[in-house]
């Protein structure tokens, strides 16, 4: 459990934020640059002193201005992975990994070392110096170094930001592994919504130093606050579904989402578990009758739960498909022609081609009992443009 409320004023900029997430899993702090993400991470790490508030991790209080608690950085046991990795240049990888471990006093340091080296695939790097490593390798070493210090929480400050695209793809599976295997919470700072969709169990959306929305990713993906941030390009509901079947001959997987079925490309997907997919609003097509004679594989029946006009002569339509909700963007004229209104039965069409899911293991199901997000869903006044599906 992580429970944070912090205030900090730095010149003209102020952070005033509160969030709370239960269990382990990955909490994403999402927001544009300048929204206070890194400040918050540094406040939690203790590298910056808050003006007031508290930081609680499970039973432990790291900071509480009311009770006069302020645990020094070196005793907080936070595993901090910096954007620029900050490996010690005068030490080889092995010594870097051991730096925190030595000071943390593990019961069985050798076993732990071996385990982390294995988990992050560091064996081949141990004798090397940081300057000889690629960006992705550095971040893996930094992750290992943080983990070996036996942290209570892992703080990741845009660990992918300094990496080129290919390296990001290389590191992402390791992050997923950590999320799924660690028993401690991970706080993950990002300004890339694709990363958040792929990794987060809980999302905190930040703007100008404040949390404007938070909750599980599916609920947060529907909020106007998020929409304002990702723009119409990235706008789209995130939904989760259980895999019902794999179709080896077509290479597709069938997911159960709400009362419907969704076919997605099955590459890298196992038969069990929960799959998360983002359907971009601008890639979705709406029909008011059961569609026939189309190449589109996916047709989800639902009820129109909200519709909002927006400045660009488009309407943003929210459709309840038996639990999960989707966002679709249609032009105002199409909306009028179809007579779209709340309560109307509609069919949402999605092309399978562009859908790729992210797998969650069964033990760690973020969206199964969705907590209501603090700033609640539903399109309000604002626009989006198109509909569709996304494969980050």
């Amino acid at each position: 459990m992580i429970d944070v409320r912090l205030k900090k004023r730095r010149g003209a900029f102020a952070v005033d934020v509160a969030f709370r997430a239960s269990g382990s899993g990955l909490v994403a702090l999402f927001g544009p640059s300048g929204s206070g993400k890194s400040t918050i991470i540094n406040l939690i790490a203790g590298l910056l002193a808050p003006d007031e508030g508290y930081i609680r991790l499970g039973e432990t209080t790291l900071y509480d201005s009311g009770r006069g608690i302020d645990v020094p950085v070196e005793e907080r046991r936070i595993g901090y992975v910096f954007q620029d990795s900050r490996l010690f240049p005068h030490l080889d990888v092995r010594a870097n990994l051991r730096y925190g471990a030595k000071r943390a006093g593990a019961a069985d340091p050798q076993a732990e070392f071996a385990q982390i080296v294995e988990l992050l695939g560091l064996e081949a790097l141990l004798e090397r110096r940081p300057r000889g490593l690629s960006g992705g390798e550095r971040q893996r070493v930094a992750l290992g170094r943080a983990l070996l210090s036996r942290p209570r929480v892992l703080l990741l400050d845009e660990p992918l930001a300094s990496l080129e695209l290919a390296r990001r793809e290389e590191l992402l599976p390791y992050l997923e592994r950590l999320r799924d295997h660690l028993s401690i919470p991970i706080l993950y700072v990002s300004h890339q919504f694709e990363e958040v969709v792929r990794l987060a169990t809980h999302v905190v959306v930040l703007r100008s130093g404040a949390a404007v929305a938070q909750g599980d990713i599916c609920a947060v993906s529907l909020t106007a606050e998020l929409r304002a941030m990702v723009g119409s390009e990235g706008l789209g509901a995130v939904i989760e579904g259980e895999i019902e079947a794999l179709e080896p001959d077509t290479g597709l997987a069938r997911l159960r989402v709400g009362s419907g079925r969704l076919k997605i490309q099955a590459e890298g997907i196992a038969l069990t578990g929960l799959v998360r997919v983002q359907l971009l609003a601008r890639d979705l097509i709406l029909a008011v009758e059961p569609p026939r004679g189309l190449s589109v594989r996916n047709s989800l029946e639902g009820t129109l739960s909200s519709i909002v006009a927006d400045a660009g002569r488009t309407h943003l339509v929210e459709v309840d498909i038996g639990g999960p909700r989707l966002l679709a963007q249609v032009t105002a004229s199409a909306s009028a022609e179809l007579g779209l209104a709340v309560g109307r039965r509609v069919w949402v069409l999605v092309k399978t081609v562009s859908l790729r899911g992210h797998v969650y293991p069964a033990g760690q199901v973020p969206g199964r009992t969705p907590a209501p997000p603090s700033a609640v869903a539903g399109p309000r006044e604002s626009s989006g443009t198109a509909a569709g599906a996304r494969s980050p």
Partner: protein
Amino acid sequence: MREERTAGGGVPTMLLTDAEWQALRLSLTVASRSVLMSLPVALIVAWLLARRPFPGRTLFDAFVHLPLVLPPVMVGYLLLVLFGIHGPLGGWLANDFGIRLAFTSNGAALATAVMSFPIMVRTMRISLESVDRGLEDAARTLGARPLDRFFTITLPLMMPGVLAGVVTAFAAGLGEFGAVITFASNIPGETRTLPLALYTALQTPNGDAEAARLAIVSFTLGLLGLGLSEVLARRVRRSLGP
């Protein structure tokens, strides 16, 4: 001020007399001891100047750099006032610890240390300021306390500067003249280092050849010192990487 010679005469030769060897040895030991004396103090002062803003820091900074701008003879005189047998510190050291500094080789080392102190502080401070504080923050998050952090992260990272400071101070120390001759006098075998021997030779009739030999020795030592500092700095830099 005359000394006996067993070699040399009027012809310059590469062989040194006993007295010249003595001066060379003495220069090396005095310079080494001066570096040992000033190293820890210079580290602390460099750290204070680079990392700890305190009231009067500018004044303190100026004070540390004084030996660079004062006439060395005056520094020697100040040391004599402070550390002479009847001086406030010298009297205390002599009475309570039996340590005499004025007119001894230890005194020569002290005078040399004071003169090369600003050089040492300066190089160390510059290298300390170039140490990435982010790395120290990283060490903090990994559980390293201040002293631990200093010795495992900061000091290794500023090592090029420390080494450069040590070698430069040592090389400069070999040549210290004014402060040494004022505070420690020109006693053969005790405080007559290379430059003092050179000076003495120049004051002596027919001392030209000896002076030339001593000059060549000083010149060679200086070159060696600078070369060594470059090699060391390069090696350390390579081991630190970008």
